[in-house]
Symmetry: C2
Subunit: 218 residues, 2 copies
DNA sequence: GTTTGTGAAGGATTTCACAGCA
DNA sequence: TGCTGTGAAATCCTTCACAAAC
């Protein structure tokens, strides 16, 4: 075990671009859109961008260079243009549908969070396994039994699964999502799920974040 | 600009141990505590740990070796013992007090989240700047004006600031926390705040996480 | 004069592979 | 035999430094 000695075409097929770079692009978008909203120069330098993000200008230029030449020497980057390009690279120039699984306290908070839809993430369905909740309408979504999930994925063009179930059944739910063809999972349950390697999982776990800060405290 | 060519004692004072390693330790703790709860062998190998976390056994052994020799050749690691050691390394063998700033929708969700206190993170105070909310009691906490913050930090031994205010005033609030002596911040606002480099910030931003997944979707 | 884009250098992290111990 | 702990090798990522472009 484990995986790939045949990176003959790993290098070819799977992204030239390092994962860390991809994870930084949304940070750039975030700063740029703050800039667009303010009035102020429509051009920004890697130096300025870097100071807003507490990183080095060279890193920003290097990151951007994986995707093209977006700047002008002597001036910098056009804010609007760069934001547009990055959004397009990230696939943020369209909307993405998501399903929430788990309609307890956490799931309700997720579906009523107003931050998703302005950014193009549309929660269009909700699932649970409790008889008490199935059939109810919460934040405009009719709660369905999990057994409907696979069907809905296709019918409603669901691309993202949001896991908001207790840790005890999270792996099971994630297996169902994967089985249903979901390749992107936002996981609120405090565990590292096992998934095939074409599935991307991002975890949201504030306690985990706190636990890596205590090391630095005295 | 920018920082340190004098890493003469960077190496000495600031952690030998790479930041990435520190960020992985809580993952190990999380798996180990799941193991303790299940019955089953009280010994675990780096191989088993790795398979639970989808990483390599060598990485786990290397990470642990920064802190000592916790295993026994031919057997593996004692689950209880390793969990205890890691908790102690991370400073999780005590409790830590936290203050929440921002008592809107998000702040209320944070203070009523039942996941913090069992892990030793005690939210013992709440702040806001809205006259409408100040003085009310929410989840057992009396909401105070932000001007009380610096005072409370000492009086209530607050070590962690949790930022749950709108993005527009997040930097300002973070400046106040830093000014008040807070060195660890959990930031729910969607921005990368500027802080001195002895302050650790961890961001919780589900939209940001989603935005780095869309790149991989077709 | 200013700032980008980028090979090359340097540093950090991961993986290998095996000696040593139970 | 089985698995850890760890130097050495390999890989990955960041920073440097400067030619080219505006």
């Amino acid at each position: 075990m484990t995986d790939t000695n045949n990176n003959l075409f790993n290098t070819e097929l799977i992204s030239e671009v390092p994962e860390v770079v991809i994870q930084r692009l949304p940070l750039y978008v975030r700063v740029l859109s703050q800039f667009t909203n303010m009035l102020g120069g429509d051009v920004i330098s890697s130096e300025q961008l870097a100071s807003h993000l507490q990183m080095t200008p060279a890193q920003i230029r290097k990151d951007l260079s994986y995707f093209g030449r977006f700047g002008k020497q002597g001036r910098g980057y056009n804010v609007d243009m760069l934001e547009t390009k990055l959004r397009s690279i990230l696939g943020l120039d369209r909307t993405w549908n998501a399903a929430v699984v788990g309609m307890g306290r956490l799931g309700r908070a997720v579906v009523s969070y107003p931050g998703f839809s302005p950014e193009g993430f549309i929660i269009n369905s909700a699932f649970d396994n409790s008889e008490k909740i199935i059939g109810k309408t919460i934040s405009g979504l009719k709660v369905q039994p999990i057994s409907n999930l696979t069907n809905s994925v296709e019918k409603l063009d669901i691309k993202i699964g949001i896991v908001a179930v207790p840790v005890g059944c999270a792996q099971e739910v994630i297996d169902i999502l994967v089985e249903g063809g979901i390749k992107s999972i936002l996981n609120y349950a405090p565990l590292s799920p096992k998934v095939p390697d074409d599935v991307v999982v991002r975890g949201i776990d504030p306690v985990l974040s706190l636990k890596s800060m205590t090391y630095y405290m005295r």
